[in-house]
Amino acid sequence: MTDTAPTATATAAIETNDLSIYYGSFQAVRDVNLDIQPNRITAIIGPSGCGKSTVLRAFNRMNELIPSVNTTGEVLFRGQNIYKPDVDPVEVRRHIGMVFQKPNPFPKSVYENVAWGARINGFKGNMDELVHSSLQSAALWDEVKDKLDQSGLSLSGGQQQRLCIARAIAVRPDIILMDEPCSALDPIATLRIEELMRDLAKDYTIIIVTHNMQQAARVSDRTAFFSLSEDGKRAGMLMEYGDTKTMFTRPEKKITEDYITGRFG
């Protein structure tokens, strides 16, 4: 950690204050106030186009790779606003890793895929050991231990996604963001990833965007429900946020209940 700001006061892994995100002049996400608990799995659910992924990508400043995106409000990571002008997005992403919707391993060997991120972050220790432990944490070691020098692209879709998780873990982030990590996978591969997430939650804070409400119910501790604003401007808003169990059994709002019970979505 290179930051000098106080960290002791922060209890949330990530806290947002009036986070709004614009694509050009269109407000895609409006005034989100959310605090993500450390070492928990937080699911973000909601209908298509409600800005779930956009919010997730705001947590490690990935949105700025798209030129027209503009972000207002605050995202506090350990009490520090990561959108302050003197914050380096590269540093932010070293602490807040990401797993994407489609498995995107590098066209390099399995070993290199895991080692790459650690290497560019100046990892000086035993690389073989790191690759081993990261693949083990991602529940992939047994399947790939004999093909570490094969291309990451030669693995199956589910294996590729676990390789991407191993790659993210190898950097030793504090938080792992997962953007619909199972949407391109079959049910068995999905199940493996979900089991893996439960294991990882012991060491990491995980935030997962998912289309799949059963998945949110199965894996997450807390759930944030997003939906479009009802003023016709189609801005994504946080509708309800709380413990997953409570949310799925006794939702506070009608709209949440309607979504969870499948009346719209």
């Binding site: 790779l65 890793g97 066209p107 991120g117 560019i120 692209l153 950097v171």
Partner: protein, 388 residues
Amino acid sequence: MPLTRATEQSLPATSLKRKLRLRELVIQAVLFLCGLFSIFVTVGIIYELGKESMLFFGRTQWERTNKPIVAAISASDVQFEVSNIGAMASPGEVIRLDDELLMLTAVEGSTYFVERGFRDSLPVPHAAETIIYRGVDPSVWEFLTGTSWAPHAGQFGVLPLLNATLMVSGIAILVALPLGLAAAIYLSEYASPKARNTLKPILEVLAGVPTVVYGYFALTFMTPLLRSIFGQDTVQIYNTASAGIVIGILILPLVSTISEDALNAVPRSLREAAYGLGATRLETAVRIVLPAAFSGIAAAVIIAISRAIGETMVVALAAGAGPAFTFNPFQAAETMTGHIVRISGGDLSYDSLDYNSIFAIGLMLFVMTLALNIFSQYIVRRFREVYE
């Protein structure tokens, strides 16, 4: 099930009969003919190059020795005196007097001993002062390994021309590869859409400048520049360095545009993966995107090399007019294309030695670029990554 049957019967009949679509057929035929035409043209070019080259390799070329016979000889004389001017032939060589071929068996002082009527030619009397021609058979081996190119003196080594071509192309690619790749990386990974939309067309204008302009640019700008840097005594007026650098500028847009396309074709998701791991722009560009685009970039470079090898106008103007076997880039040396253009620029009679020789060089150029193209296809296939 009666219900389904009833529904089926109530549907109106639809004709599924095949229709004759004349327009489709005509267009298809025209497209096919266009493809066929380009194949025929290629085959024709290869045939012509091969045929004329065979004339060069498969046939004795006659070199004028400028040495006349002293006195008239009859159809049966097997020895005669030759003048002391001109070049001597050596025993074992075929010589020619008028249309008759003679085998030279021995030479004693100024006396030639010959076998008459060689290769089924008709022994006839020859008048005094008839000039002796010496037969030379250019072999493929000599063509490929000889270090001197002077067809009229019986020297058919293509190496001086080939060496100059390779030097010019080598210098060109040394200039174009780093600059072109840097430009491509900037345009694809760093430039804002606005900067990119401005810079890319400007770069592509370079490709539209006529090569003759580049030739004079080399001669009147690059050469004086090199001479002022390295000294008038080191750098000759015509030199391969100047031509090579300017060809490098000429092929720069080729390298940068094709490379940029290759970089752009790398999926966004790979960049996001790298950024998500905390990679900087440079780390992402150089260590993820560049290797992922390797096959496309390699293809770009090989196409650029082919272009440099085939480039004619710049070398004809700036590289020098005379074959020279030198590895010094500051000396004049004629390239293969430069030689072809110079030789064919003057009066060139059909079936002459020069005429045949330029086809041999042309065939060699063709084989080189063909080999490069095949190599580039191999590289593209071998290193292409398929992303789902």
